[in-house]
Symmetry: C2
Subunit: 242 residues, 2 copies
DNA sequence: CACATTATTTGGTCAGACCAAATTGGTCCG
DNA sequence: CGGACCAATTTGGTCTGACCAAATAATGTG
């Protein structure tokens, strides 16, 4: 998947996953380029391009004399997507950690967006909230609107740092969830509460309220996602048992 | 600097900075590999390895027929370090955005660390706070202890996502600040207030308090850093004027 | 002028070669 | 026997030149 149909990307993806699966101990010598070329039946150039990508991800460090594997903990954020996509289903702990980090950043974005929005932008946000409300029943149908709202807020808040963090995470995460058919079962009224709080915060231009509403919503979302993943894990282990 | 003494890294660094400086319009065709090889008097292989890195950073997208420049807004977080290091001094707005994002993540980490800490870890944290207090007068001398405290909290909170985000940012940012001699002038008592709040939060194991203390501290830090950067900007423009 | 076809450019890959740095292994000496 | 020194080997870094397939640009044709 996502191998981008070139040999070097394929090799990079395979090696990346092997490292993320802890198949090499941190600090251990990585196979030599010539060995890898033989293993993948590719030229050394292709292998070198793959290693160049792994190095950019912070997964290996190359030196004349040999490359060495680095700790995943010291890698770049860009490994998170592949890391979540490793097993049959994402590691619940990792997903929760992601949602927690995403939560505070989203809350911050909401606050800044509401405070910084021009009158026109406030109207736009209200419109997006209304559109979201119209589809609040179906989790999956809601996603595009949800994402549009976050995108609009992100654009208004205009924090490049947060935007870049989002790039490395958002799409990969949400897409994977949907692809796996994991649909968190939010408590009835949870969305309504969020939306009504957002409406009020937009009317009063109250950033704190918007922030708090997001935080509260994510608390519930984290719980629901955790529940869905646990259910999924059981389902899988049952299937394996048969 | 940081060109890692290999040709391909040097080329990658130069092209990266050119893209970050908006010297190419987003969507524009990037020079061909053969042209770049001629320009840098290098082999096509070396250029390809450089482009491979740029692609991993999300700055370009390559296809048979030609590579195209992508919007910085859609790049990977790993470009932030280079982005801040571009001009003579960092863009104050970007620094503030960074600090704001770092603020909420740090507050979250502090909260989780305080809540999750074992008795031994609480003692360790208290010790680190005490060591920090001992050097609270000198901003520069304080940094190693400050970083040690954050590192310890990060280890206890054990959120891989936040850790990875930190990897792409922390070191580069702080180092650059110090290197440029930018020393934010924190209000007297600001540090004391933070430290005493932290002490209380550790004693009561009150996560919310720790979080709030961090947030408050960062508000002041952001102001002080902004002030220091404005001063620095004036200094530079005076020097240029002469 | 619109469209289909050809020619050219460009990225992707391969092969073989050379250099310099790092590692390895052996040797010599204390 | 142990440690320090030195050569042989491994390994990454780079270059040259070549071929293919996809995308683009140029061309000719209706």
């Amino acid at each position: 998947m996502s191998s981008s149909n070139t040999i070097s990307h394929e090799i990079a993806a395979i090696l990346r996953d092997e490292i993320l699966q802890q198949r090499y101990r941190s600090g251990e010598r990585f196979p030599s380029e010539r060995d890898l070329a033989a293993r993948f039946d590719a030229s050394r150039g292709a292998v070198r391009e793959a290693l160049s990508q792994l190095e950019q991800l912070g997964l290996i460090r190359t030196q004349p004399g040999g490359a060495r594997v680095q700790s995943v903990k010291s890698a770049s954020l860009a490994v998170l997507g592949p890391l979540m996509a490793l097993g049959d289903y994402p590691d619940p702990l990792l997903v929760d950690q992601f949602l927690q980090a995403f939560s505070v950043l989203t809350a911050m974005t909401a606050k800044n967006a509401v405070v910084a929005a021009s009158p026109e932008q406030l109207i736009q946000l209200k419109k997006l909230v209304a559109e979201l409300a119209a589809e609040a029943e179906d989790f999956e149908a809601m996603q595009p609107h949800w994402r549009a709202l976050l995108e609009a807020m992100s654009a208004i808040a205009d924090n490049l740092v947060v935007r870049l963090i989002g790039n490395d995470l958002k799409a990969q995460f949400v897409d994977q969830m949907i692809e796996l058919g994991i649909r968190p079962d939010l408590r009835a009224g949870s969305i309504d509460k969020l939306l009504s709080s957002l409406r009020v915060s937009l009317n009063k231009q109250d950033g704190e309220l918007a922030s708090q509403a997001m935080q509260d919503h994510f608390v519930e979302l984290r719980e629901a996602v955790g529940e869905a993943l646990r259910f999924r894990a059981d389902e899988l282990s049952i299937r394996v048992a048969n």
